[in-house]
């Protein structure tokens, strides 16, 4: 196996198999993946910080096997920050914290194309920093339908005085985030709120929306997955690559752009790849930075 040692700050990260093509039908090697994450790191690192990372590894690239890894691999360099989090069985699990570029590079060297994180930080496990609505189009629905629902969510939340942010999932759906950043708000609160909102929308628009996971209920509708608001749930991190044919990205968009793209009604326009993400990050900075800063209170809690 070919290895090179890369110096990042004071640390040396050992990188291997850099010319391995991880997106064979598109042509995107491990070196390209590392370069993407290196360049997007100013934007993505604040969103990964202090969160238990779930690795989704593709050692043989897209099309090969992949696996989720919640435990931090035991064969890690000493400088990888970790945390021990309790599990349901009473045992503890050691997880990786991507708190710096060196760890990000190490994780990507393991071909963890997708980075998934929970809504809470390891120091405050019961406290979500935000609430998420994962909009997932069922069979026969598409991202344009998700766009309509996302805009409806924005209006309803806005009516309640709540600002929210939106990103593409990098696959077929959209993710709407409501920043909270308040110690008083727990997962019980966000689950109750998000579920109620999903059910109210479902009742008002039964042909367009469902709040239940059952496969049949999702046909032709947008599934508002409120249940992602749990302490053990993870959602793909903003700016993460996705494991699709081409290296798409879960990319934040301005609401104006969602309005425009939804009007245009071309689902293909909702797909953004690595180069789009880098261009936009350079132009606009991190559109999701407000998610980490804005303190908001859910009504009634």
């Amino acid at each position: 196996m070919k290895r090179i040692a890369a110096r990042i700050g004071e640390r040396v990260v050992s990188l291997s198999n850099l010319d391995k093509d991880l997106y064979p039908s598109y042509g995107f090697t491990k070196a390209d993946v590392l370069e993407y994450y290196r360049r997007i790191s100013p934007c993505i690192l604040p969103h990964l910080r202090d969160r238990a990372l779930t690795l989704k590894r593709y050692p043989d690239g897209i099309g090969g096997d992949h696996f989720f890894e919640k435990r931090c691999p035991a064969h890690r360099p000493g400088w990888v920050e970790t945390a021990n989090i309790p599990q349901s069985g009473g045992e503890e699990m050691t997880v990786c914290l991507v708190n710096g570029l060196h760890t990000l590079m190490w994780v990507e060297n393991l071909a963890s194309l997708e980075l998934h994180v929970p809504l809470a930080r390891v120091s405050t496990p019961g406290i979500p920093d935000s609430m998420v609505f994962d909009l997932d189009p069922g069979e026969g629905a598409d991202v344009i339908d998700c766009g309509h629902i996302a805009l409806a969510l924005r209006d309803i939340l806005g009516d309640l005085g709540l600002e929210c942010f939106v990103k593409t999932s990098g696959k077929k759906g959209l993710h709407v985030y409501v920043p909270l950043n308040r110690e008083e708000t727990t997962f019980d609160d966000t689950r109750r709120f998000s579920k109620t909102l999903a059910q109210v929308l479902e009742r008002s628009y039964p042909q367009k929306v469902t709040s239940v996971m059952a496969k049949d209920a999702r046909k032709g509708r947008v599934f508002i997955n409120w249940s992602q608001n749990g302490p053990s749930n993870t959602t793909v991190c903003v700016y993460s690559l996705r494991a699709r044919e081409s290296p798409t990205v879960s990319l934040p968009l301005a609401w104006g752009e969602i309005e425009r793209l939804t009007r245009q009604a071309d689902p293909g326009e909702f797909q953004f790849i690595h180069s789009d993400a880098l261009q936009r990050a350079e132009r606009d900075g991190d559109l999701f930075s407000g998610l980490l800063e804005l303190r908001q209170t859910l009504p009634g809690f």
């Binding site: 096997d65 989720f68 064969h75 749930n233």
Partner: protein, 256 residues
């Protein structure tokens, strides 16, 4: 006593067919423990329980899901899997021959003895041909609705079939991320001398499973109501890296 054949088929390569029977090469004899509930010593059974409600779920209410995303599954039923199972044609098809000793033993899974079936001639000829060429045949076959990869080799007049693990089942040693350590010529030489001094021929009969006997005794003593004194294992101190050479040389002095 001649063991019963597990399976019959024919080895095929080029225009040769050699009928064979498979026999087990290993019979394990091990003390079997059961798992008990500590309070009442009732033997525990494994069940599938709902992860949330912690209640047993009967067999007919279980489905098999393949995780395609966090908490998202594609459901696959038994029929669908059954339809993928290969039809066996009782042929051990040899694809390539490789020089003996090339296969990393990490690939070895189970060993079977092969016995001639129906007639001895072809069997003897193949065993001799493998012996003469020093080659092993890499082959695939289907047995009891499962496909196997294996290596066919001769040992004296007999042939054996070793089932091999597939490439993706063997973890690459690279994932251990072993550190590169600098060693001096003197250290290496002392190491080689010590290992040579401590070498002996491999005689498996020399090693008996006396532990099994001791375990049996322990159980008998407990059954008789005796109290067992607990002995704590001790951890040996690691040889410090800067004293490695010294330790090797002292060991060598002891060995010769």
């Amino acid at each position: 006593m001649v063991s019963r054949a597990l399976w019959k088929g024919q080895i095929h390569f080029g225009d040769f067919d050699v009928p064979v029977k498979l026999h087990t090469a290993v019979r394990e004899q091990r003390i079997q423990f059961h798992l008990l509930h500590s309070r009442d010593h009732v033997r525990l059974r494994q069940h599938m329980l709902c992860a949330y409600e912690k209640v047993p779920v009967p067999r007919e209410e279980q489905v098999r899901g393949f995780e395609v995303g966090e908490g998202r599954y594609i459901i696959v039923d038994d029929d669908e899997l059954e339809r993928l199972e290969p039809e066996g044609n009782r042929t051990i098809e040899i694809h390539d021959f490789v020089r003996g000793g090339q296969i990393d033993p990490l690939y070895f899974d189970r060993v079977y003895y092969l016995a001639p079936d129906v007639m001895l001639r072809g069997y003897r000829a193949l065993a001799e041909a493998l012996g003469e060429t020093g080659m092993e045949g890499i082959c695939t076959w289907t047995m009891r609705k499962r496909s196997y990869l294996g290596s066919l080799a001769a040992k004296g007049k007999a042939m054996r079939l070793i089932t091999l693990r597939h490439a993706d089942e063997v973890i690459d040693a690279g994932s251990l991320d072993l550190p590169v350590t600098g060693l001096s010529d003197r250290e290496l030489e002392a190491g080689v001398n010590l290992v040579t001094a401590l070498s002996a021929p491999f005689q498996p009969e020399k090693f008996k499973n006396d532990h099994q006997k001791k375990l049996r005794e322990l159980i008998d003593r407990k059954a008789a109501g005796e109290k067992i004194s607990i002995l704590r294992p001790r951890q040996r101190r690691a040889t410090p890296p800067d004293r490695l050479l010294e330790t090797l040389e002292a060991s060598l002095k002891k060995a010769v």
